[in-house]
Structures are given as C-alpha cells and as structure tokens.
C-alpha cells in the first residue's frame, strides 16, 4: 500500500524532533518549521518502503502530532525551501 506524508505547519512548533528521526523525510524552513522533503510538503510523493519505519519514528517523536501519514495523497500547498 502506498504511503504519503506531510507536516501540518499550523501546529508544528519547530522543536526539531523529526529530522533526527527521519533525515531523508523532513527538513526545516528558515523559521524552523518542518516540511516533508520528498515533495515540498505537498504530500503527493509516495514514501519509499525503506523509509516507512523512520516516518513512524518521526510521527511518534512529534510532540504536537503535526506529522500526518495516509495511504492517499494529501495535495497540500508546496513549501518553498529556504
């Protein structure tokens, strides 16, 4: 089953917990807020199978439950990385 992810940047608190858990999946913009690296947080690119466990770790480590995972694409607005 395909897996997609994105960060709800309205609830992200820029704590920096997700990147160490999933460095290939999450990065921060200059304000410290996280975004999904695969597709600029659009949530439309399938997460590779070998990164699913990292994604689960990042979800577990997010204190505000801002990292979302679904089996259908999210189609969010693209984030311009700094």
């Amino acid at each position: 089953m395909a897996t997609y992810t994105m960060v709800d940047r309205s609830t992200c608190i820029a704590c920096g917990a997700c990147n160490p858990n999933a460095p290939d999946l999450f990065e921060y913009t200059e304000d410290g807020l996280s975004y999904a690296l695969l597709d600029g947080n659009e949530g439309t690119t399938e997460v590779p199978e070998d990164l699913i466990e990292d994604l689960e770790d990042a979800i577990d480590g997010c204190p505000t439950d801002s990292i979302k995972m679904a089996d259908t694409p999210f189609n969010c607005q693209k984030v311009e990385a700094s």
């Binding site: 309205s10 609830t11 608190i13 820029a14 704590c15 920096g16 917990a17 160490p20 858990n21 466990e53 689960e56 770790d57 577990d60 480590g61 204190p63 505000t64 439950d65």
Partner: protein, 342 residues
Amino acid sequence: MDHSEVMDITIIGGGPVGLFTAFYAGLRQTSVKIIESLPHLGGQLSALYPEKYIYDIAGFPKVGAQQLVDQLIEQMNQFETTICLGESVEEVEKGDNGIFKLTTNEGVHYTRTIIITAGNGAFQARKMNIIGEDKFQNTNLHYFVNNMNQFKDKKVVLFGGGDSAVDWALMLEPIAEKVTLVHRRDKFRAHEHSVELLRQSKVDIVTPYVPVELIGDEKIEGVIIQETKNSEQLELEVDDVLVNYGFVSSLGPIKSWDLEIDKNSIVVNSKMETNIEGIYAAGDICTYDGKVKLIASGFGEAPVAVSNAKVYIDPTAKVQPLHSTSVMGEQETNKKKDQVSV
C-alpha cells in the same frame, strides 16, 4: 503543601521563560509560585532536546539546553519560589476581592496575578492507547521515573525506543530483578553508544513488538505484546510497566478562559497584559505585532510582565525596576551583616 496562601504572582509553565520570570518576580520582591504539568522543570528544553546546543542566548556563545535550564534554576533559587510539579491548570476564576482562584488537577491555588509562560501548552506523556491503560494509571503503570528505588527487585517491562527509554533501561538494570525493553522495530533511535551498552547489558530486548493489552485486577500482572509483522502474541509477567513514548503538548483548558487567542497564542499588549486584568503572558505562548518566538525574546518579555504585575498588585511601585546590581548588592550586604551578628 498549603495552597491557601495567596501568592503575588503565579506562573503557569516551568520552561526557560517561566523560570526566568520566577527569578525576576523574586528580584522584584513578590511572592511567586510555578505550576508545571510535567514532573520536572525545563519545559521543551528538558523534555525534547536536553542535549542540544542553543546558540542565541545573550552572553552564551553556545549552551546545552539542560545546562541552560540548570543555570536558570540556580538563578531562580536565589529567591524563595514555590514549585508545584505534575499539576495541570484547568480553571481560573476571579473573586470579588480581585484574587484569582486557579484550579488544577491536584487542587486549588490563590493568586493576585497570573503570568502564563506555557510555551506551546502543557506537555503530557504520550500514552500507548491500549486496553487497560486508564485503569492502572494510579497503580503500577508509569510514564516517568521519579524514584529509581521503587523498582528495586521488580520485574519491569519498558516500552519505547528513544534515548530516554534506553537510558531508563540501563539505569534500572542493576536495581530491578529483570528489565525487559519492548520496541516496535529492531533499530533503536537512541545514541549508538547507549544502544551498544544496552546490547551488552542484561536487559532483555524484545523487538519488533507492540503492546496490545494490560492484564490484571487491582494492578497490572501481565502485558500482552504482539509481533508487528506476523501478529504472534506473547504474555510478559510484570511488577511494573514503564512507558516512554515521548510527549504531546496542547494549550488545553487555557483556551476556554476567555483570553483573546490568535492562532493558538495569547494576545498581549506592550505591558504583556492579556485582555483579562491581572493575567499576563510571556514567551512562545504570547503574541503581539512583531512577535518573535525565541527564548531570547521570552527572556525580555519576562521582566516586562513581572514589573507590570508588580504595579498591578501595588500601584505605588514603579514599573521601572532598580538595576539588579543594586538589588543583589544590597542583599549580599544584608547577608554579610546577618552572618556577623550571628
């Protein structure tokens, strides 16, 4: 602890800004209390990234997050501060005499003013969300280790795979009869060195398993865990269960206090006053035009909130404080005088 004393200032949130606010309240000779939802002070710094370095604190080219917290506590301890840990605020009510009655999950507190420094809201331990979890929270299910000796000669099952889960397992191993660490994947998120120590220890590592059910009447007697891939189930015999799944934070009941809220932040004016007279906010939880969410700016907002709260309590006081060198210098001189007279 007697909570009936009316404090001048009650601070909600014991993170870095809350700690500095408490120090400054002491410096301005007000009685002060901190209410913190976690069983320890330090907020995000201690809960989420104690080992990370912070580079934008004035006067510190580089400071470890926990080191900064320790320094703030030392600074705060120059004055008497009442600390209430493990308490989450629920309701606030202003009496006819202007005194606030603050209700928490543990009791009632009275205060002339409130300064909210709750960051992103109250942190709570993340739960497992399995059958039986609510039933055992007051018996042998733990989310924090407050006293290692309570696990002496006990069979402890620990859930989690991060740094603190591994650290707890290693600390408990020489004390407990048996420590079993259960994690849902074979790889641990903890530091490589800690994981290496773990693998060399007597800790029984069970992966990749997740908890399914807690069994027992008065207290947990067994835990059913399930293999993540083939669904095979095992039952572990336990005396105590420890869960280390990190934290979740939320603004919680503060949202229903009739404070003006903008995007999860409390709106304040240049005096750090909220729309409710006598309630102030500082740090990440507050917002105003041009607000920057940094510890450094929170440290600037703290004396503004305290000094204006001081004037609210005592209208004859000045907003502009004396310089700390004068206040502390006088205190040191008085201490020396007392020592001589003894």
